[in-house]
Symmetry: C2
Subunit: 138 residues, 2 copies
């Protein structure tokens, strides 16, 4: 058996920075897979980062690897949510905050447009009815 | 002929504030029509405000009537663009600025999601290829 025939298995590199658990790298692979699915089927998917064993350093590493995109969305509900495009188009970093500004959850959404940005037809209909009323009062 | 039979034609009220030309009210009617079209056919449409004879006071009146929504988008290209949802879901007030921050154009877009917020499949594909390269280098 020559040395060329020895099967080589690439394994995750060990984390080198303190606080890096190594759990963020498989997420990058998962995101790439989600992008493949989006392109092939149009299916949007999301990862709940709060539900995973990630340290703040892991999150920072992940965010740095994904980079920053051109689009930033803020949504004012009971607290503020931010939906930031990463340097990978179609990958959005979503942070929800409560009324005191504390982060309540973080998601990575893979979609052409984040679900929360879309106006829903029933809301558009209600808004149009209000607009018609407003016009008739002018 | 009784008085009930006299046809009454409602006309646009005359502008009452200085600087109001009366050109903004028909726009509200147009927006309502655009919303009807969006709901019935899904068709997105836009009005180029810069191309219309509107004074800054007209624009202020229009913006005030449309109100403020929960979603604000900023897009950094050569200059900053803002895409703000109005209080009428599906009606977006879009302002483009140049590198010096001067307003270059303003649009009202009627759509479920502003066109500029959507990631385009070809960009998603290029981004995924970059991500794959990045992963293989880790």
């Amino acid at each position: 058996m020559s040395i060329d025939a020895i099967p080589i298995h690439v394994i995750n590199p060990l984390p080198t920075e303190p606080g890096l658990t190594g759990n963020a790298l498989p997420l990058l692979r998962e995101i790439s897979e989600m992008l493949r699915r989006l392109l092939e089927t149009g299916e949007s998917t999301a990862i709940d980062l709060s539900a995973l064993p990630l340290t703040p350093i892991d999150l920072e590493w992940l965010r740095e690897k994904l980079g920053e995109g051109e689009i930033a969305v803020t949504l004012q509900a009971s607290g503020e949510s931010t939906l930031n495009e990463t340097a990978c188009p179609g990958v959005w970093w979503i942070t929800h905050r409560n009324e005191n500004g504390a982060v309540t959850s973080q998601f990575i959404e893979v979609s052409f447009v984040p679900e929360l940005v879309k106006a829903h037809p029933e809301d558009v209909k209600i808004g149009r009815d209000h607009l018609e009323l407003l016009i008739s009062d002018l």
